[in-house]
């Protein structure tokens, strides 16, 4: 019905312009973006990238094979785009019909010609001066459906933009930014809904995941990440602490169409470090929640770090996969957590299958058979400070991992860093920082810090190989069916490795580190391209013609 209306309007406009004959000679405009396309994920022809993780499973594993371990060292740049704004890319660009749709820092966004990197349109949002975004004025990407792009804003709005012009189709307020809310997440489009979350775990918010009707912007459901009075889990917050307990959601989840469930990692409870301000497990903080995509009702949850005291948001990227474990086919969700443990969960029940450290962890001995960490003493921050590994940034963080189903390998950029954590009782003021503590890096003489790209078997949690960096990397990853893995180090090197053994095959100094995001890949005019966001630039690479 909607499509018919749009077509009629288009025909009417053409008639007005008197250009029917000319239009008839041109190729028909591409059809609107369909759910079918999004559901198919990354197609074999490489013609599109339409959702944050490439597909609903968030695997970021491309079927393309033109660039291989044998020829990757011949990659040459095709073009470079510069934002012209302050701040760095953390975005995953979308590709459709040879056009890239890109969000940047400070809520600027572009449509770019994928062949040349030249701008087609630019959108810029006028932002209020006193934003409360905790950790960078960034954005992690668009969602898309029909003729609209969806983008969250630093002042906690959700926008729909016209794909052709960047003009605003609708604009809804998720929450008042003056109360500490912000949004940086890439929207996830499921059926007719746009699913997003809010940031603000350091500002005394009460976090939530929202779904909006893609066509109108009307809110369809809201899931509060902190249960209200009378709801299960509410009693895991002492007193009124639930009202200002944080638990933002700022990294895109995964979707399982078979179960009609979305899976989202949730943020830290607040105040971040002060235990006595919020006694209890503080559900659903630092958890993976499985929600019905139609209603937002919770099906199950798994809490990685009950009563977290180290700001270990579980806002890492969940990856869905179907793998064989102990001879049995299992539907799983894979999750490398900021707290230093790698998890494989049964995604139909939320029960733990594997829970194993993937970096040095000093706060918990292991994960017990019920899925709860067995704590080690001496890791509750106080005014004197206590040393814990990993540090506040964690064993990993929001930069995307990947999963190669053909070799059953989960890849993650890991960090080996320790920190002294302090805590004190904070006062709450609406919209103000509310953390109740701080962290101080441990001297590198006492504890050398480094990073590594690690390949993990999700059936066991065992490491297959690692590639060590000089310092901890915050880059995301991309794997391809030809056996490549693309990564980056903190010194600005773009790296291509053999995903089977971690051998370095090619490198290029980009001049800025890839931070919080990964390369993407697609086909354009018969050539495979690798698109790399690093600092304020976006660079497209391909093999020579």
């Amino acid at each position: 019905m909607r499509i018919t209306t749009v077509r009629l309007v288009r025909i009417g406009l053409l008639l007005l312009g008197g250009s029917v004959a000319a239009a008839a000679q041109q190729a028909a405009p591409p059809p609107l973006v369909t759910l079918q396309e999004i559901s198919e994920g990354l197609p074999a022809d490489g013609s599109r990238w339409l959702t944050f993780g490439g597909n609903y499973s968030n695997q970021r594993h491309s079927p393309l094979t033109q660039i291989t371990p044998a020829n990757v060292n011949r990659l040459v740049p095709q073009w470079t785009f510069q934002t012209g704004t302050l701040g760095n890319f953390e975005t995953t660009s979308l590709l459709r019909d040879n056009v890239l749709y890109v969000t940047g820092p400070q809520n600027v966004a572009w449509a770019l010609d994928a062949r040349t990197g030249r701008q087609i349109w630019r959108y810029r949002r006028e932002l209020p001066p006193n934003l409360t975004a905790c950790c960078g004025l960034v954005n992690r990407g668009f969602g898309v459906l029909g003729d609209k792009l969806f983008m969250v804003t630093l002042d906690a709005h959700l926008l729909a933009l016209d794909m052709k012009t960047g003009a605003i189709a609708w604009d809804v307020t998720m929450q008042e930014y003056t109360n500490g809310y912000a949004s940086t997440i890439a929207p996830l489009v499921v059926k007719d809904k746009v699913i997003v979350g809010v940031a603000g775990g350091e500002f005394g918010i009460r976090g939530f995941i929202d779904a909006y009707e893609a066509q109108t912007g009307k809110r369809a459901w809201r899931f509060y990440t902190i249960p209200g009075p009378g709801e299960p889990g509410h009693n895991t917050w002492a007193g009124d602490s639930w009202k200002i307990g944080g638990v933002g959601v700022w990294v895109t989840g995964a979707y399982d169409p078979e179960q009609n469930l979305v899976f989202y990692g949730t943020g830290n409870p607040g105040p971040d470090y002060h235990s006595a301000s919020r006694e209890g497990d503080n559900l659903y903080s630092t958890s993976l929640v499985a929600l019905d995509a139609d209603t937002g009702k919770i099906r199950w949850h798994y809490q990685f770090t009950p009563h977290d005291l180290h700001d270990w948001d579980a806002t890492e990227v969940p990856i869905l996969g179907d793998i064989t474990i102990a001879g049995q086919p299992r539907k799983v969700v894979m999750f490398a957590n900021r707290n230093g443990f790698y998890y494989t969960l049964d995604r139909t029940t939320g029960k733990l299958i594997v829970g194993k450290p993937f970096v040095n962890t000093t706060w918990a001995k292991e994960i017990d058979s019920t899925g709860r960490p067995i704590l080690l003493p001496g890791h509750e921050p106080d005014e004197k400070g206590e040393v814990t590994c990993p540090d506040i940034t964690g064993g990993t963080n929001f930069w995307p991992p990947t999963f190669d189903p053909s070799t059953r390998t989960f890849f993650v950029n890991a960090r080996e860093v320790c920190m002294t954590f302090y805590a004190w009782k904070p006062d709450y003021k609406a919209g103000d920082r509310f953390t109740g503590g701080a962290g101080q890096r441990v001297s590198t003489l006492e504890s050398p810090a480094y990073g590594a790209l690690r390949a993990i078997d999700p059936a066991t949690g065992e490491r297959k190989w690692e590639f060590r960096y000089l310092t901890p990397s915050t880059a995301g990853l991309l794997t391809t069916a030809s056996g490549l893995i693309f990564s980056g180090d903190a010194e600005g090197n773009l790296l291509a490795l053999n995903s089977r053994d971690g051998k370095l095959l090619w490198r290029y100094q980009m001049g800025a580190a890839m931070h919080g995001t990964s390369p993407t890949t697609y086909m354009l005019d018969g050539r495979q391209h690798v698109l790399v966001p690093a600092g304020t630039t976006l660079t497209a690479w391909a093999l020579p013609q």
């Binding site: 006193n130 960078g136 004190w424 503590g437 701080a438 490198r507």
Partner: protein, 266 residues
């Protein structure tokens, strides 16, 4: 906009009865610097509002090291504006909820981290200290555009470092190397080893200043080894090399170095 904000600030100060500094323009000098009560209050404010990014000791975590802000030439008035208004386009937010007197308290505390006040009366002869500096230190350290480049420029060291810290560095050497001055030895496939300090490094290359002050980059795969040295090029000046009296003189001179002074002709 500026006018509106100033009016609002005055109104807020009046409303909370905290109108200590109700002028429209902030004073150029921190009116509570050195005030113990202000420093105590500032510590609480700093820890609650600043330490998460800048660290408990202000030496940087997510945000930068801010112990050197005065040493780098920032003024009280400028820093006050930064605390209140943030740095647009960066993660340093505006802090409209911080009252003026709270901003001054934060700066009073930060000042104690930047250069703790000496607890003993000044002693030593700065003139003799300058002479000793030229003999012992100037081949590596620079002051007012004169001296070597292998060690950090010390033109502002008196504002940036306490006497106690400088004394420890001279008598006992360095515990941790400052970025840009980490000692390194490169051993080429052929030829002599190259000693210097590291200016930058990644997995594949290293950029150094060698002991002849040549700046140069080297590819690691063309080297037999790239070794981070554990011993600083900065010698330890024990009492055998520098008497207690000479040390007092040298420290007194270093304490006078509070910023580049173009009037001083090398």
């Amino acid at each position: 906009m500026t006018w509106t904000r100033s009016v609002l600030t005055v109104a807020m100060l009046w409303a909370v009865g905290g109108g200590l500094f109700a002028a429209q323009e902030p004073p150029a000098k921190n009116p509570v610097e050195g005030n113990p009560d202000a420093i105590q209050a500032g510590m609480g404010l700093f820890r609650g509002r600043c330490a998460e990014c800048h660290g408990m000791d202000a030496r940087g975590v997510r945000g930068p090291d801010i112990t050197q802000v005065w040493a780098s030439g920032r003024t009280d008035g400028g820093l006050f504006k930064t605390v209140k208004e943030g740095v647009p386009g960066t993660e340093m937010p505006a802090n409209p909820r911080i009252l003026d007197y709270e901003a001054w308290q934060i700066l009073a505390y930060l000042r104690t981290l930047a250069a703790p006040a000496p607890t003993d009366p000044p002693r030593g002869n700065a003139q003799n200290g300058e002479r000793l500096f030229r003999i012992n230190c100037a081949s590596c350290h620079r002051v007012n555009n004169a001296g070597g480049h292998l060690g950090p420029d010390l033109s502002r060291v008196g504002a940036a470092r306490s006497r106690e810290i400088m004394l420890l560095r001279i008598r006992r050497g360095l515990e941790e190397f400052r970025a840009g001055f980490e000692p390194v030895t490169l051993t080429p496939e052929t030829g002599q080893a190259i000693h210097g300090v590291k200016k930058n490094e990644d997995l594949f290359s290293v950029q150094i200043m060698d002991t002849r002050e040549r700046i140069q980059g080297y590819e690691k795969d063309k080297m037999k080894s790239v070794q981070n040295d554990t011993k600083s090029a900065m010698p330890i000046f024990g009492p055998d090399r520098l008497s207690d009296s000479d040390l007092d003189d040298l420290l007194r001179y270093l304490q006078t170095l509070r910023g580049f002074n173009p009037a001083v002709v090398p």
